[in-house]
Each structure stands twice: as structure tokens, then as C-alpha cells.
Subunit: 600 residues, 2 copies
């Protein structure tokens, strides 16, 4: 410790919000170099190396072969798949001295595809799974939470190549199994959830989410085992209702009802029903969204959701990817005078407003597309805007009085909603994505013309999978999930050292005994950090040891005169006196047992 | 081999000029992703990892502590040291989504300085040496020779921090000694030469050059042990001659003598001397250079060198760094009509042309600075241009008839030139820079305000050293220096595998025996590549084995019926028959001996 490049801090860094960020900085594991960009100090690098080693071992055991791609890549391959544009402002772009366009790669599908195309040409070469552990870049709008969401970060990304769909299934299953082993060995709790493929394309994907309050992702689980990222949750579609039973639609004055709550109150006062009160669920709320395509084109979209639910921007963004989504602005409303804020109804939206369906002439040219929640099925009746200030239409019936351009999963998912597979009510939880596995299918191979000769000598487009683990994020998550109010508390398999030996007091004999113990442990293969600082108080040393978070802390101090040292277990806080003579053997045995437990 | 992600090529890649580039691509170690940017395939990555491991071990043994900085860095620290500008077009620059300027770091002096400033504040914390093995970027004008000069490459860079100059000397010596151990362990021949510090600044620097014909660097050596990069060679300054002995200068018609050779011929014909003929060494050639500052400003400079030597652009660039240097263009000459091409003399240059020294008026405003070779000392007499077409001046005497603004090391260094330290005549050789160590002194600490309290409680600016090894370049150099016409031939300590086992023929028994041998070797800790491809001819397998370059090749084939396998040593081509029963033990022993030899 007297020479280790380390300075612990008693104060949390000003920009840190989550525990892992605070503690990794305070304990001297990382330092911020720029927003979302971190430097690794010696202890942090040791944890990172251990996490990488576990991932590498399991990737190799699953038949993966390690390669390493550049981070600085030419534009052309990403142009071929349209991702140069689709990534929008998340991509770091630059030009070289000759003006050629480059990017800092956020992920490497294109390059892996081209490399396999360069090397391989026959079905006999496949299946193949190759991977890398490599630095990636993403120009996040809001880098946050230290390593949890950075702009320069390390990922393990692997890619599988198969001729047949069944081969892809097998490769996907092998990577999925390897991920399970990796997270179990690292001691990271995970839930495997169905996920949207998003900008990656492809047919099937699952996320490994680690449940934590500080997670940015929301996921759902049902008692029957359904689990999905909130973006991927699908709404069970109700049965259509007979149109004949619906009363005729009628427009009513509903003054001062720009919100759902005011509307429901007025409806119950002015149009009371005998069987039950009107509720928000009887209203259809039409939410105006502004979409921005990756190329920067802005357009409006209206989404109709039952009035008892909020529109969920995260789900909408996933459904509308790669467009960026935001609520429409005053400017947008001005550009479309048919939108009467607070009183918007289907009458001026989507099919109803198309020139071929209306006699109103030019107005129809500006028809705004209209999508509705899957619950808005044929025969459902709604109170909704009449497109005039202070007026609503009642009993407007889907399939008779209005239609939409389609449905969209854009309403919030709520605890208690039914799972789409009928496995019971959903509960919601928050998590951090630590792994994501995709069946890409033939999207990239098609775009980049990766084909091999099959058994019959015919050219076949290869089918691919893509599999990622956030390596730096895993370190953050391990810190997040293994700390207390005193500091970090690493699982032994990823701890920077196994044992922290603290010498307290001023007696030479204490320092001699401590150094002897540290040396004996190291000779026995135990990793030791020895606090040999001569003029630092025991209190400061204890605080530092607890902050740094080695799994075992051995204090050599006052007990030495009675022939004992103190052995503390960081995670439990348990403490015991151990004979100084047998201390090295006792501690080494404890370390070996803990390592063995972690591996089993 | 049947599943290894590898495809060997029989043809050299079209863009490759040097053997290491050709062979590393042909043998499937690397693939080009963009100019100067390479992907590492599985075998290449294994070599890289072994090189990194040796460097890491020696850095740790020398007391270095490993850290890891980002590659993507903010502009500000590099602005503070002026390197944002000084790097000119060699720096990859980019802006993030908010328009903030970033760079891809070519080297990390600024960040290391700031990190130490962030963590440390007292002399007690020093000395400190920290290092990283990390990806760096340089937008080379002419990326070439594969990994030898890339635009994305891996470096080990370390930095030392001391309070006193003597401490820097000790830190520098420790790194220098570690470098010697590293290159010896890697089996890389090296010469330590004095070097220019260039854009790094600082007071002392040495390069580790590996002698090779394909090297871009020229260096000199003397029998007495002097060695320097050609940029750093200084010219012994002759004694001044008495001005009184020089005859008066006289201008002569020398029609059609725009070159030194024509001038010498005319001089001997028209102005013959009694004692000896005029030679090129009697003439003073005035070379017009155009300098471009990092900020893009262009200016002219004239350098006077004895006519028997060429001006050396490399030495001039080093002397004039950070400006870029090129010969003046026709445009430049037009802008300065006082420069009569082919007949330029000191009369219109430097001090002679300054307004305060001439009565000619305005012309002097455009006075071009004038530097001369160190051999142009007081009293030396020259034939040089008279600044009129077809006329030269004879016996123009330095210190009497003209002066210069100073001297510059800009003339070529030639074999046989005397070493500056009197240690004998120089010989010239070519090499590749594999390491560079600098005493930076206080340049970066001053610019970034890195101070610590000294023993007396006073703030002291820290003194630094910077030490680099080109890691990817070392791999290229190992390939360059260890190959023959058949392919690569790796030193065992960096070989991707120790033994390449080749099964030939179609007999199952051959494949069984080969697999058994491979397994036995692996169980014994030997790294094996087993060529199990069933339908590939022996000829192709042998060619591949020789191309890939494992130090030992074991052929299991026809000899098996007589109970033998063939053991070939790749480097020497030696071949011997070994009993199949003892083969694993024999080969493993051979491998262990070779590894031990490499380590000693």
C-alpha cells in the first residue's frame, strides 16, 4: 500500500449517483477522463482482467475462437447495412487526413461478416463461432452511472455462422448456455427475458438482465415463467365485439375537458350510464408523437391508447426504431391545424383523413398516420375527441366509425397485466442489461453477400447470430451488487486481491509479522494487498480496507502479543482470532474453499 | 486445423511489400480492415498475447504499475501542451454529439500527468512508474509495411515521476534495463542509439532500433561504440581559419552551371588552381526549403551545405520539428524574385538581406532566414551563387563576406564520416524503431501544473520520463527477422504454438497415432496445432506447416509402419526419425529445452 498507485477518497464524487460509481471512484479503481469515459487504475484493472478471463474461458470452452478487430473502421461496410445512418447521433464519426469517413465501432456485425466472407467459402467450414473482447464506442446522449453506461467501454461480442436455421438454433443455444455459466461463475444474478431486436435486426433475441434498482431497463415476470424486457411485452388482443350492438356515435359538448380526468368527470355528470360509471378506460387518448428518422426527417404520428394508460416512450421507441420519438411540440401542432389539442379524435387521423376517403380536398394531403393500442379491437366503443374545442364524441366504435393504419405496442405495461402466454399476472422490476443474444438470421449476410457453397454445390446465404456481454458494465454491476455502507465487498473470484493484510500500531514486530504473513500467503498462491504504511492510523487503515473490499482482511496488531491475529470476512463482517503461527495456512485454506465454492 | 478459423494463401497480398506483411497475411495471422488498420486472427492474437505477456512481466518486475487509459480523449489537455496543434494531420480528431472536440490518442503524456496530479501531492508518493498496454492512433500519411507502420496499433507506454533530476536518471535507467531484458527475451536484436526528442520535448532520449533492411530509420555506429539515429548525429565542427589568409572574393561568369557538377567543371576550366582541382566540397549549395507550421503557416528557409553533400530531409525535419519541411516549389520562387534558381548565394539571404544591414530598402522586408551546415565555419572559402543567372562568386569567405543566422544539422550523414565523440568513422545501417525512451523533464508537468510538496514543504514541479514499445510492431519485426522463403519461423517464446503435428495419408491408424501424440503433448503442457484435415494432401499440409512457422513440426505418416515419426526443426530445417512410442516425451523435452534457452 505504501507504493501502490492509489488514493482513496472519503467524499463521493460530485457527478456520481449510483453506489458502484461512487465506490469505484472513491476506492481508486477508476477515474473519469471525460463524460462516460474512464481510466482504469491498478486495482480496477485487476478486477477487469479477472472478469475477462472468466468470459474468455467460457467462450473458448463453448468452441469460440478469439480474434480482435480494430475500433476505427471505414464507413463502407456500415453504409451497406444502413447502420452508418441508422445509428444517428450515437455513432462517433470522423474523417482521416484524406477525407475518408471512419467510425468508432459500437458493434462489429459488418466486420465479422466480411471477415468470414474473406476466409470461408464452403458449408464444410461451418459452423463457426468467433469472438473478441474489445473496446467499443457509443456517443450516448446521457452517459450515466459511471461504468454502467459509458461512451468508451469494453464488450465481449461473438458471432455465429451457420448454413441452416437449425445450425443457428444450436449455435445460439451454445452461446446462451455459455452466458449462463459466465454469469454464474461471476456471481451475477440474471433473468433471461425476451427482447426486441431493435437496430440489430433479426428474428429472435433474449436479454440477460441483472435485477437492480439502479437499472435503466424495466422487465416483467409472470408466476408461470414468462419474462420479457418491457419493450418486448405484447398485449393480449381481446375478442372483437359485435358491431350491431353498438349504439350510434353522438357528439356532445364537454367544455373544459382537455384531460382524461376532467373528461371522465364531465361524462359521468352529463351522460351518466345506468350499469356503471364511465372510467378512464372508456376513453381513447390520441397521443401526438414527432418521429425523427436517422437521416433527420421529422414527421408526426398519432397513437391511440386507452385513457387509463400512459403512452410509454421506451416501448414506442422500440416499436418505431430506428426513428427517434418525442412528444409533438407546439410548432408541430401549429403545422397541423386539424389537430385540436386536448380534443383530437380519429376523424382527422389515418385512413379517415386520406384523400381517397374524404371529400374535404387538400386537407387530406397532410393526413397523419394513426396507430392504436392492440386493445382497440373491432366493436370497442370509446369516448374520444371530436376535433373541436370543448367537444367529444361518445360511443365511437372501432371498425364502424373509424379505423387505424395498424396497431402498436406503445401503452405502458402495468403490474397485474396478463402475461401474453397466459401464465398469469405480470410483475415489474428494474434491471441492467449485461448480455444480449440475437438470432440475426440472414440480414447481414444478405447485405454483405456472405454465401457459401452447400452440400449440393449451390450458393447459400449464411445465417448468423450475435452475442454480447458488457464487460466494463459487469464490473460496475458486481460493485453495485456487492457493497454496503462501508464500501465494496467483492466476490472472491473477481476481487482485485484475496486478502488485505493490515499492520496496525508502531511496533516493528507487528510489521515484521504482517510482512511474514503476507509473504507466506503469496508464496502459497494467495493474492495479497499488504498495508505497510508506517504512519497511518489503524482507523484509516480499517476504513480503507473496508472501502477497497477484499474478501478477507487480516489485522496484525494488538493481539500479536497474545499470539493471535484477527481474520475478518468482509461480506459478513464476521471476525475471529486466529493463532499467528497457523494464520497463513488458515487464511490460505479459507481462500481456496471460497474460490472452489465460486467455481462450483 | 479442421475447425481453426484460418485460411492460408499461396499468393502475396497485392499491397504488401515487406516479408512480414506478406507472410502474416498469407499465414492467416492478420487481415487488413482499412489502410494501416488490421484485424487479428486467432494465431496472430496468440503471438500478440505472448509478446504482451513478456512486456508486462518485465514492466512489473521493474516496479511499474499497470493502468489503462481511454483512447478517446478530450481536447483540452492536449491543447494545454500545444500538441493538439503540433501533431498536425497525424492526429485523428473528432467531435461528439454536443460538438465537443476529442482526439484518438497517439500517446498519453498529458493524461498520465493529470492522473498523477489528481492522485498525488507529496514527494513521499514518488518515485512512481505507471504503464499501460493500449491501442493508439496515428493518421500516418503513408501507412506501410503492414503492422510495421499502422494507423491503429498497440503500444506499451510507461511514464516515470520523480521530484529530483537524479530520481529521473534512476527511473530512466530502470526502464532502459527492462527494455534490454524485454528485447532479449523476445529474441529481438537491438541497437541503442542516441535520438532526437522531436515532438515529445525533453532533454535526453534513446531509441531501441532493430537492424533490418526494411527499416525506415537510418542509424550510425562507430567502432568506438557511438550509435545514433541519423537525425541525432552531430557534425564535428572544424577549427576556424584565419580570415587574413583569404583572398578577396571575386564574381565570375559561369554560364550554364545550375548544378554542382557543371559548376565544378567550369571552375576547373576557367579558374584552375595550382595545388589541386576544385571539387564539389569547395562549393556552397544553398537549398531553399518551404516550412509549414502545425498551424498551417508557410515560410521559406535557405540552408547552405557543402556541395558534395545532399540536404537530408529527414534530418532537416527533425531539426525543424514540429514544422513540416519540403523543397520550395516554383510558386515559392516566384514569390521571392531575389532567389535566382541555380545561382543563389548568401548575398540575398539571412543577415545580409535584413533591412538594418542593407541599403536596398524594401527588398529586405522579405529577407529569408539562412542557416548553414556546421562545417561552414569562419574563414572557410566557397564558390557559391552570385544571385545573377550564369554567375558565381569565388573565395566568398564565411565571417568576412557573409554570415548566417545559425547552423543546422541538415546535410546527409555518410559512411566514413567521423563520429562526433572521436570514436572513429561511422557506418550506416537501417533499422526499425521498437522502443523509445525519453527524459521529458518538466515540460508536461509545467504545462499541466503537476507539483508535489518536497521535504521542505515547498511546491516542486515533478520531472518525468516517457518510455514506449511498439507492441504490434514487435510482432511484425519478429516475423520479419524470422522467416525464410517457405514462410514464418517463430522463436519458441512467441510462437502461436510450440508444435505442429501433421497427419498424412489416409490410414485411420495415422490419424489415431497423431491425435494421441497431440493429446499427450497437450497434457504435458505443450501447445499443439494438430493438422487433422482428412482430405488435404501431404504436400499442402507441409506447405501450411512451413508457412505457419511453429518451431517444431512432427509428421505422422508413412514411417508409422516402422514405428517412427519425423521431427523437423523449422528454423534449421533439420529432420530426424523418432520412435513413435517415445515421441511425446522427446518432443516435449525439446520444447522445454528451447523455452529454457530463450529465457536464459
Amino acid at each position: 500500500m505504501s507504493t501502490l498507485f492509489l488514493r482513496t477518497l472519503r467524499e463521493d464524487p460530485a457527478d456520481a449517483e449510483v453506489a458502484s460509481h461512487k465506490l469505484l471512484v472513491r476506492a481508486g479503481y477508476i477515474r473519469r477522463a471525460a463524460p462516460g469515459i474512464y481510466t482504469w487504475l491498478p486495482l480496477g484493472l485487476k478486477v477487469l482482467a479477472k472478469v475477462e478471463a472468466v468470459i474468455r474461458e467460457e467462450m473458448d470452452a463453448a468452441g469460440g475462437q478469439e480474434v480482435h478487430f480494430p475500433a476505427l473502421l471505414p464507413r463502407e461496410p456500415y453504409e451497406a447495412t444502413n447502420r452508418w445512418t441508422e445509428y444517428g447521433p450515437n455513432l462517433f464519426r470522423l474523417a482521416d487526413r484524406k477525407g475518408a469517413d471512419y467510425l468508432l465501432a459500437p458493434t462489429h456485425e459488418e466486420m465479422f461478416t466480411l471477415l468470414v466472407k474473406d476466409l470461408y467459402s464452403s458449408y464444410k467450414d461451418l459452423p463457426l463461432t468467433i469472438y473478441q473482447i474489445q473496446t467499443k464506442y457509443r456517443d450516448e446522449a446521457r452517459p450515466r452511472a459511471g461504468l454502467l453506461r459509458g461512451r468508451e467501454f469494453i464488450m465481449k461480442d461473438s458471432y455465429s455462422f451457420d448454413v441452416e436455421d437449425a445450425g443457428l438454433d444450436a449455435s445460439y443455444a451454445a452461446q446462451r448456455a455459455a452466458y449462463i455459466r459466465i454469469f454464474e461463475r461471476l456471481g451475477i444474478e440474471y433473468v433471461i427475458v425476451q427482447a426486441q431486436s431493435g437496430a440489430m435486426g433479426g428474428s429472435k433475441s433474449e436479454e440477460f438482465l441483472s435485477p437492480t434498482e439502479v437499472g435503466e431497463d424495466t422487465f416483467v415476470r409472470s408466476p408461470g415463467g414468462y419474462a420479457a424486457n418491457v419493450e418486448a411485452v405484447t398485449t393480449p388482443v381481446p375478442e372483437a365485439l359485435p358491431l350491431a350492438q353498438a349504439p350510434a356515435a353522438h357528439v356532445e359538448d364537454t367544455p373544459d375537458t382537455p384531460t382524461i380526468a376532467t373528461l371522465v368527470a364531465v361524462a359521468n355528470a352529463q351522460q351518466p350510464r345506468e350499469d356503471r360509471d364511465w372510467t378512464a378506460a372508456d376513453t381513447l387518448k390520441n397521443v401526438v408523437l414527432a418521429l425523427t428518422s436517422p437521416a433527420g426527417e421529422r414527421s408526426l404520428l398519432v397513437v391511440g391508447v386507452p385513457g387509463d394508460r400512459e403512452a410509454d416512450l421506451t416501448r414506442l421507441e422500440a416499436a418505431l426504431s430506428p426513428a427517434a420519438v418525442e412528444p409533438a411540440t407546439e410548432e408541430d401542432f401549429k403545422a397541423y391545424p386539424q389537430l385540436v389539442k386536448g380534443y383530437i379524435g380519429p376523424g382527422v387521423l389515418g385512413p379517415q383523413a386520406r384523400p381517397e376517403n374524404v371529400a374535404r380536398g387538400d386537407e387530406g394531403d397532410a393526413a397523419i398516420p394513426y396507430l392504436v393500442d392492440p386493445r382497440v379491437v373491432e366493436g370497442t366503443r370509446w369516448i374520444t375527441g371530436a376535433n373541436e374545442p370543448g367537444r367529444h364524441v361518445f360511443d365511437l366504435t372501432m371498425g364502424r366509425d373509424f379505423v387505424a393504419d395498424g396497431t402498436i405496442e406503445g401503452a405502458e405495461v402495468r403490474a397485474g397485466d396478463p402475461a401474453p402466454d397466459g401464465s398469469g399476472p405480470l410483475e415489474l422490476a428494474r434491471g441492467v442489461e449485461i448480455g444480449h443474444i440475437f438470432q440475426l438470421g440472414r440480414k447481414y449476410a444478405d447485405a454483405l453477400d456472405l454465401k457459401v457453397l452447400d452440400v449440393n454445390g449451390k450458393q447459400q446465404v449464411v445465417t448468423m447470430g450475435s452475442y454480447g456481454i458488457g464487460v466494463t458494465r459487469a464490473v460496475a454491476l458486481l460493485a453495485e451488487n456487492n457493497h454496503d455502507e462501508l464500501g465494496l465487498s467483492w466476490p472472491i473470484q473477481v476481487a482485485p486481491v484475496h486478502v488485505h493484510v493490515v499492520a496496525t500500531g508502531k511496533d516493528d514486530s507487528v510489521f515484521e509479522a504482517a510482512e511474514e504473513l503476507a509473504s507466506a500467503l503469496e508464496a502459497d498462491g494467495v493474492e495479497v494487498l499488504y498495508d505497510d504504511r508506517p504512519k497511518v492510523s489503524p482507523g484509516v487503515k480499517f476504513k480503507d480496507a473496508e472501502l477497497l473490499g477484499a474478501p478477507y482482511i487480516v489485522v496484525v496488531g494488538r493481539g500479536l502479543s497474545e499470539g493471535t491475529v484477527e481474520l475478518k470476512t468482509r461480506a459478513t463482517g464476521e471476525s475471529e482470532q486466529v493463532s499467528v503461527d497457523g494464520a497463513a495456512a488458515t487464511v490460505a485454506a479459507r481462500v481456496r474453499e471460497a474460490l472452489a465454492r465460486a467455481r462450483s
